[in-house]
Each structure stands twice: as C-alpha cells, then as structure tokens.
Symmetry: C2
Subunit: 339 residues, 2 copies
DNA sequence: TTTCGGCATGTTCACGGTCACACACGCCGG
DNA sequence: CCGGCGTGTGTGACCGTGAACATGCCGAAA
C-alpha cells in the first residue's frame, strides 16, 4: 500500500510542502510572493501546486488574516437596468482586484428588509459595502446595527462626499429641464422617483433649480416608484387636467408609461406633449418615438465605486474620483409645444 | 487594570463562554440548536450573546465544517430583465435558507471569460452553482476545470434532467407560434436568441415543432443576440424583402427593435405585420402597441432553482420540481394578416 | 444495591492557512 | 578573528469554530 495523497480531501498547503520537499511555510511564502525564496525552490513548489491542482482555502486564509476580501452590495430593484448594470460593473471591477462580491437584494425597502439584508451581509464579514437602495434609511440602519465597514453609495448627496461618487445627477437633470425650456415649454411636470432614493432627490433638485433659474413657474413633482406602470397611471391622472406641455420623467421606464397613457388619450408625442427620460436604457432608442433622455454611464459608476472602496481597504488601489456628467441624448420625444 | 473584554477584536465564542460561565462548546451547542442544553443555560448564553453583540465568524465555521454555505451564480447579460429577476429571486431564496450568494458576471461569453468566472467562484469554495449563460460551453469548461459542485441551469435541455428546471420553454414557444397560426399567418419568421443559449434553442425548437405540426412551411430562424438593437437591424434587413406577415421574437427586447424597424418602414402593427415576443418584461405592456408575448415567471424559476440545488446539499430542503408552463399574454401586436 | 444509559456539560483536537520567531549559512567590516 | 546582518528556510503557535471523546450525575432496570 502506497501513501495515497489524501484521497477525498482537497490538498492543503502541507500536502504541497511534503511533495515539494519543503516546509509548509515555504509554500505559503511562494503563494504570497515573498521576496526571499530561491527561484528554483519557488519553481518546484509551483510545479507541485499545478500538479496537484492545489487551491488555497479561502476560509482558512480569512480566518487567520481576518480579511474576507468580500464586498457586499445591498440593492433594491436590482431588476432595473441601471442598478443591474452597476452591479455587473462592480462585480467585474472587484473581481479584477481579487475581491468577491456578495449581494443582498431587498424587495421592499422597509426598515425591516433593509436590516435583514444588512445583517446578512454583515454576517458574512464583508469588508466594504455598496448601497444601491433608498440610502437615507440604509445609513440609519447601518448605524443602528453598529456595522462598521467602509461604504459607498452610488449617488452624491453633497453632504457626505467621502462615501459617495460625484455623478452629477443634478447637472443631468438641469440639462434635461433646460432642453425642454429651450424648446419653448413653460408648463413642465416632473415625475420623480421615490422620495428616499438619493438619485431621485438629486434629479428633482436639478429640475427645480433649473426651473427657478430660468424663471419658469413650477408645480410640485409627482413621486413615483420607477416603474412603467406607475408612469402610465400618473399619465392618465395628469391628462384629466392637461395643464402642461412637457414632462420630465426621472427614469426611462416611467417615461415609457407616460407615453403609453398619452397615446391612449389620442394625443401625439411630441406634437401635443413632449417627454424626456433619464438613464438611456438600451431599449429607449427603440421606443416609439425614440426617447429623448439623459445618458448615465452605469458601468463607469460601478467601477469607480469599487475604486473608492478599495481606496479605503488597499492604499495601493488607484483613486480616480471625479465627476461623471450625464449626457443629453436627443431623440424623438421632444419638440416645440403646439399652441 | 481590569481584564478588558478583548478590545479591538470581535467577541468570539470563548468570550461569550467566559461571561456566561460555561465552556465554549456549550455556546457552540446553543448556536447550533443542539437538543440537550438546559433551557436556563441556553437562555443565559443567549443573553450574553445579545449583550455582547456576538456574531459567529463565518470563516472559522467554514473552515471547520468545510462548508461555505455559498451558492455561486455565473451569469451573462445580467443587465437584462429576465436574468436579473432570476438572480434576485435566487438570492432571496438562498438567503432564506441561510446561504450566501456570490456572483460572477461575464461580459463576453468566450471560453476564456467563462473559465475566469468559474475559477473565481470555485476559489471561493461555492457549494452549488447556478448558470445563467450560454450553458453548452459552461458545462464543458466546468468539466475541464474539474470543478465538482452540484449545478443547475435555468433551462431544460431535456437531456440533463437532474440539473435543470423543467420550465417548458418549448411549450411556451409552441403556444406563441400557434397563436400566430391561429390568427391566419402562414409566413412566419423566428428571430431566435444566441445559438448556445439553451433557452434560445428550446424556443427555436418549440417554434419549429409547432410549425411542422400545423403543416406550415418554415424558413430558417435568424440568430440574434437578445438586444433591441439587433431586432431593429434584423427587421430592416427582413423588410427589404417582406415575404412574411408575422415574426416571433425570442425575447421582448428583440421584438421591440423589430417594431421600431417596422414603423420606420411606414408599416403598421398589427395591420401589416404581427409581432409576438417572449418573457413579458414589465415594459412590454407599455410598448406601442402593447406587446403580445409569453409570460415567464423568472422569480419562481429562481426560487425553484435554489430548491433544486439545496436538495443536493441539504436533504431536508423541500423538493418541488415540476414544470412551469409559460403563459400567453395577448395584447396589441398580433392580429389577422391583411391580404 | 448495582449497573447502565442518557442527559448536560467540559476537554481536547483538527481544520488550513499566516505570523513571529529561530536557525544555518555566507559575507563583510572592525 | 569574531560579531552582526541579510538571505533562505523551518518550527510552533494561533485564528474561531465544531466534532469526538470524556465526565459526572441521576433515574430506571436488573
């Protein structure tokens, strides 16, 4: 009977050591690129590693270093294009830096599910947190649970610049609003996102700022929930009065719903009513008419997000903050108002 | 100097034990719901746990049990509604069962990125794998990397029933096709998804089966890439000849692109050409006209997926396989052909 | 009464890495 | 000629948890 190389159990650093004729510590040094290893020793160890298909045990490493190398994402409405794109980009960037990503999706954004999601991530020992959710409540909860990890939210409030990316949502919203005003609109509604989403708030603020800067009288924004269904129903409601010529929707889905309602009412876009969206989802170019909107680079957002987090974790990581300014994409849903 | 309760380091099971006046193993038993613990001892331990805000160390537990309680998701095009919904549902179901979810999104689906993604997940010690990607290639790669974990793919090929959910894509596609035929269409194109996606293949097969069952002559399906852009360009191409009265698109986005191309050509839907999609994304009801499509319950899919995986991992988990049959949703894009 | 089995709990060890320290060797400067 | 230092390597402890085994006690069966 020969001494089988530990059948049934994955090879450990000590198995590698034995076969390479070195100590387990030497193997560890090879794995961690320790400088003082003789090249031939290193090669021998690497050969054995390849040979045995040795894979380091993450749990063991995490235990002793007390570093999980995991980033958590708390996300609401992750089925939407924007969040989903950012998540994908975050995951990719994290992976490139040797981090893992674990997600907790919350369906409703009540305090309870937020707490559940955060607790779940915390139990995993995440080293950093990305929040794509109603952020106001999340931060409160974070404090309550005394979870203490670096975190980043995808949008800037202005009040917490260290933990947020300066995607200039306000500028984007102002651009959208200005576009409508420049077309000659004076009665413009804003269909905003949920109140406790910071990006919704920022876009709303941009809208209001531009309106007042241009001396156009404003009505109170309508608070929506990001869905096309909501846009549709809000549109039906608004059309019973029809005291406007344009609507700025806080995302493309709600814009789509609005368009549906407007057509249902027998009106034409943009002849009767102009619509502008926000995000530039890939489908927006194929709506009828193709949607004028504001393009956001969600992927870039995700990437910077990780860079920001890793800046806290690994001082080596490149720090490239800076403002991403969304870009107006004029298509077919905006035009001069009819009189 | 008093003996401070280990400032700086998170409390461990032993800290709890010391304060509760028991051994660390007793604490461990409380945590793992071991039956023979005196209720009062248990309570005392639980009190101390709550008091110290003790959180079990996942890495240590994973190390000793050699169970990571992590499910990996390999996903391509996770920004699309379908995959994103399933991912969210998988995550939620896994969380409910005490599992974590780690994702690897791959942008391109070449062998290299698939291998990278899988290696990344494998390095994490995942216990199960969900594949939402071009599955044919993934399974080959899985074997090549000699990664041996239970896996589930979101769609059934028929040939691998243990590792797939029986969402009856074929039946769904047949229903869609039959709907068109019943409306009187005899020249029907199929705009399929990418060839190596099993769901694309299944829908294509359903289309072909129904066409031949009803004795309608068939042309070769066009292989697309799921995007609205592709649908648009394919539509323009097809309209140069215009030897058809209906198109069955393998997903709603491509259907949207087709609709755009058709309208660009000055034609009307469904008067001139009928369109049917697949998935029923939330926006589909608000397209113009609202899209007739086949509804898939992505969330249910995700949930069953986890149940299936956990069936392999935890014999206790409820096993509810069974076929989910997609459902036809008739809206405004299909009608009788004009002659 | 004695033995035995089960309950409640404690003791020790193992998991697979990393870290602190020790050690052997060769080289260089005082 | 010897001590110190840098290089390459080995030894043992330790991270936090759970499993195996041990222990003491109590009640039921022999």
């Amino acid at each position: 009977m020969t001494v089988e190389p530990q059948r049934g159990r994955a090879p450990s650093i000590r198995d590698v050591a034995r076969l390479a004729g070195v100590s387990h510590q030497t193997v560890s040094r090879v794995l961690n690129h320790h400088p003082s290893i003789r090249p031939e020793t290193k090669q021998r160890v690497l050969d054995v590693i390849a040979d045995m298909q040795y894979k380091p045990n993450r749990a063991a490493r995490a235990l002793v270093t007390s570093r999980s190398r995991t980033i958590g994402i708390l996300s609401a409405s992750s089925t939407q294009y924007g969040p989903a794109s950012s998540i994908a980009a975050i995951e990719e960037a994290a992976r490139a830096s040797g981090y893992w990503v674990s997600t907790a999706n919350i369906e409703s954004s009540d305090a309870r599910s937020i707490a559940d999601g955060l607790a779940h991530l915390a139990a995993q020992g995440i080293e950093g947190l990305v929040v794509i959710a109603p952020q106001v409540r999340v931060f409160d909860t974070l404090a309550q649970l005394s979870i203490d990890v670096p975190y980043v939210s995808l949008q800037s409030t202005g009040r917490d610049p260290d933990h947020a990316l300066s995607v200039d949502q306000i500028a984007g919203a102002r651009t959208a609003t200005r576009h409508l005003i420049e077309q000659g609109h004076r009665s413009i509604y804003h269909l905003a996102g949920p109140q406790d989403w910071i990006e919704a708030e920022a876009r709303m603020r941009g809208f209001l700022e531009e309106m007042s800067a241009q001396d156009v009288p404003t009505t109170a924004p309508i608070l929506g929930d990001w869905t096309a269904d909501f846009g549709y129903h809000a549109g039906r409601e608004l059309l019973t009065v029809r005291d406007f010529t344009a609507i700025f929707a806080s995302n493309d889905q709600m814009a789509l719903g609005l368009m549906h309602a407007i057509r249902d009412a027998g009106l034409e876009i943009p002849r009767d009513i102009s619509i502008i969206g926000f995000d530039d989802i890939p489908e927006a170019a194929h709506f009828w008419p193709p949607l004028t909107t504001v393009r956001q680079d969600f992927a870039e957002l995700g990437r910077r997000c990780v860079a920001l987090l890793l800046g806290d974790l690994d001082p080596a990581a490149p720090d490239y903050r800076g403002t991403i300014t969304p870009e107006l994409v004029v298509r077919g849903t905006t035009g001069a108002p009819a009189f």
